[in-house]
């Protein structure tokens, strides 16, 4: 991810992505997704080149980035853990799970652990409501998650980091 790249490399990546997407109808969202997929977040430095390529104002680009919960303007930890806060998961004890996660990780939502391993985010339904409560770790969904399952997920994420 970001750490392993130089600024020039990032610039090159972003310009390549802009070139790839700019002529698509409604290009901004696919472009922002591509940037976030590739470098992990949307740095403010990209607003100007994007606005030029798509004939938008910088304020418009900024407005779009901040409107959508999915886009992050700051680098996340090595893993993103999302806990579902929506009704079905509440009916199955997600509130206790949230409290447990915040305590174990010693962070609140939208924060990253001090070892940079995990960023904690809320999410509103993962479509796994028959097996609530649900948690998403990066791109993987987990169902019927207990506090012990959550501990195991955290441990696994941290262990994976330690190896890198």
């Amino acid at each position: 991810m970001l750490d392993s790249h130089s600024t020039q490399e990032i610039n090159a990546t972003i310009h390549a992505l802009i070139a790839e997407h700019q002529h698509r109808p409604g290009a901004l969202l696919p472009l922002l997704h591509a940037i976030q997929d590739s470098i992990g977040f949307i740095p403010e430095a990209v607003y100007t080149p994007i606005s030029k390529a798509l004939a938008l104002s910088v304020a418009e680009v900024h407005g779009v980035v901040t409107f959508y919960h999915h886009f992050r303007t700051h680098k996340a930890g090595q893993h993103v853990m999302q806990i579902c806060r929506a009704e079905s998961c509440q009916a199955m004890g997600s509130e206790a799970l949230e409290a447990h996660a915040k305590k174990c990780l010693n962070v609140d939502y939208h924060q990253t652990t001090t070892d940079d391993a995990i960023t904690l985010e809320p999410v509103y339904c993962l479509g796994n409501c028959a097996l609530s409560p649900s948690v998403m770790m990066d791109d993987e969904i987990y169902g019927r998650v207990s506090a012990a399952d959550l501990d195991a997920l955290i441990l696994e994420a941290r262990r994976a980091e330690a190896k890198v």
Partner: protein, 514 residues
């Protein structure tokens, strides 16, 4: 002989470890020198039994579940690949009562076929609908859809045929078909199951819509929380393009239809159709004023059909079997079937597709088996975060759009979320306001400001501060939101709030009803 083993690639099955089970089954078969073919199907929707593994035997597909990795060696020891008994045996899949009692029309193939095999799709009646449609005029296709009685399954229940007719009647050099796959409602996952379990049925439905109204371009606006659905859809679209079911010349008809998936970015309001169109255009998802209707001025200002995944995925069977076949199911003005999703605190959560008319009680107890915790079900929320909470006294209401309106409730996208008696309904009302505040697009004041005020007022009520005054204030505020909001996010947040207050006054420090 190679034995076919089915292990789902559905997100909820994966959430219960289906990937690891598939790996373990493959490894164990290899160790034992057995020839097996593992097919990654969709889910049959009996989610409490995931990971459900099926084996094709001479007496039909036989199911085992819930299978964990540790069960795999014993399954092989028991000779499950010949359908022999094991502690996890569920018998012949089609004979499982829970499935047998259903009327699966839209979901006929989900869990049955290999989602990305066009061959399998064709062998199970796939593309019969499109082939029929290509022999008809646009007006005739629209008439069949209208006569089927199909109403939009995304929430508003607007007749699909009438919407298509408006787009058909517009003159434009470009028209669009947009599939609303934002599925933001808590307690719903039927769109996801279709996209992961039978993507071709959605592709076919959108193609028929394009042929009917003269649209050559389609977009699937897919929520970003569904990475597995994205992968399956893109795989299936590539297959359909290559085989000539999409592209410049659909099945040699001379008609073009291009289809693309666009990822949403985690805003609930973008499920609202005009906000969705803004988002597809690359803007903030601010709700548009109506008129103009999207059917007349939709995506990039062009005539656009916006339909939910289930609405579009139901089109192929209507065009295959005819309007009357579909309309024969259901009650009153709710024709056909509804894919119901059982969620929350429920023992047997999963997908139940039934003709309209079954009661909530049948769903919750005959299918759902009561609560997961074994305690009494105290409340259910039907229709997502903007749907009303219903108490036990309303569980005999039949699932029918009009019957629900009569009790100031909505069916929405067909999600039913159960809560046991540990639920605090004042907390749920507070959450409804909180969710509205988080997700408000900000365009109108009652929604943007009212929702935040609502949270504060509920807090005052639960802490007992100026109790009577604040109860009156919640009602006032709800009234303002009901009447003064541009879209249903602000306009329907009062449904969960007031239904909680009216049916469960004791949770708000008021004496019980009556």
């Amino acid at each position: 002989m190679v034995t076919k083993i089915y292990i789902p690639r559905d997100s909820s099955a994966l959430a219960m470890g289906a990937e690891k089970v598939a790996v373990a089954v493959a490894a164990e078969a290899k160790n034992r020198g057995l020839a097996v073919e593992i097919i990654r199907n969709g889910s049959r929707g009996l989610y409490w039994l995931e990971t459900m593994v099926e084996v094709a035997t001479s007496s039909g597909r036989t199911a085992y579940g819930p299978v964990k990795v540790k069960d795999v060696p014993s399954l092989f020891d028991a000779d499950f690949i010949n359908g022999k008994p094991h502690a996890l045996s569920l018998g012949v899949t089609d004979e499982i009562d829970w499935l047998k009692k259903q009327q699966r029309l839209t979901f006929a193939r989900v869990g049955v076929t290999d989602p990305v095999s066009l061959e399998d799709y064709l062998a199970h009646d796939g593309y019969n609908g499109l082939k029929n449609a290509l022999k008809l005029s646009g007006a005739d296709i629209v008439k069949i859809v209208t006569d089927s009685g199909l109403r939009g399954r995304g929430g508003a229940a607007f007749p699909t045929g009438i919407k298509w007719n408006t787009v058909l009647g517009c003159e434009a050099e470009q028209k669009y078909i947009v599939c609303n796959a934002d599925e933001g409602d808590s307690g719903t996952y039927s769109d996801r199951m279709i996209m992961e379990g039978d993507p071709f049925v959605l592709i076919e439905g959108m193609t028929i819509a394009g042929v009917a109204v003269g649209a050559t371009r389609g977009y699937i606006y897919l929520r970003s929380e569904y990475p597995h659905a994205l992968a399956v859809l893109n795989e299936a679209i590539a297959v359909a393009n290559k085989a000539g079911y999409l592209g410049d010349n659909v099945l040699g008809s001379g008609k073009a239809f291009y289809l693309e998936v666009r990822r949403a970015a985690g805003a609930y309001v973008c499920g609202e159709e005009t906000s969705l169109l803004e988002s597809l255009e690359g803007k903030r998802g601010l709700v548009r004023f109506k008129p103009p209707l999207p059917a007349i001025e939709g995506l990039f200002g062009k005539p656009t059909v916006v339909n939910n995944v289930i609405s579009l995925a139901t089109i192929p069977i209507v065009l295959d079997k005819g309007a009357q076949y579909y309309a024969d199911y259901g009650m009153g003005r709710s024709r056909g079937t509804l894919p119901i999703q059982l969620a929350g605190n429920i023992k047997h959560g999963g997908l139940v597709e039934l003709a309209f008319g079954a009661t909530l009680r049948e769903l919750l107890y005959d299918f759902g088996g009561g609560s997961f915790t074994g305690k009494p079900i105290r409340a259910v929320q039907v229709g997502g975060p903007l749907g009303a909470y219903l108490p036990e006294s309303q569980f005999d209401t039949p699932l029918d759009y009009e019957e629900f309106i009569k009790i100031w409730a909505v069916l929405g996208h067909g999600g039913i979320v159960a809560f046991d008696d540990s639920v605090d309904m004042a907390k749920m009302a507070r959450y409804a306001f909180e969710f509205c505040a988080i997700e408000s697009c900000g365009k109108c004041t009652p929604c943007r400001i009212g929702s935040t005020r609502g949270v504060e007022v509920i807090d005052k009520i639960t802490s007992g501060k100026d109790h009577a005054k604040n109860i009156a204030l919640v009602r006032d505020l709800s009234d303002t939101m009901l009447n003064g909001s541009l879209c249903a996010l602000g306009g329907m947040t009062p449904y969960p709030v007031l239904s909680a207050l009216n049916h469960f006054p004791e949770d708000f420090g008021l004496s019980q009803k009556n």
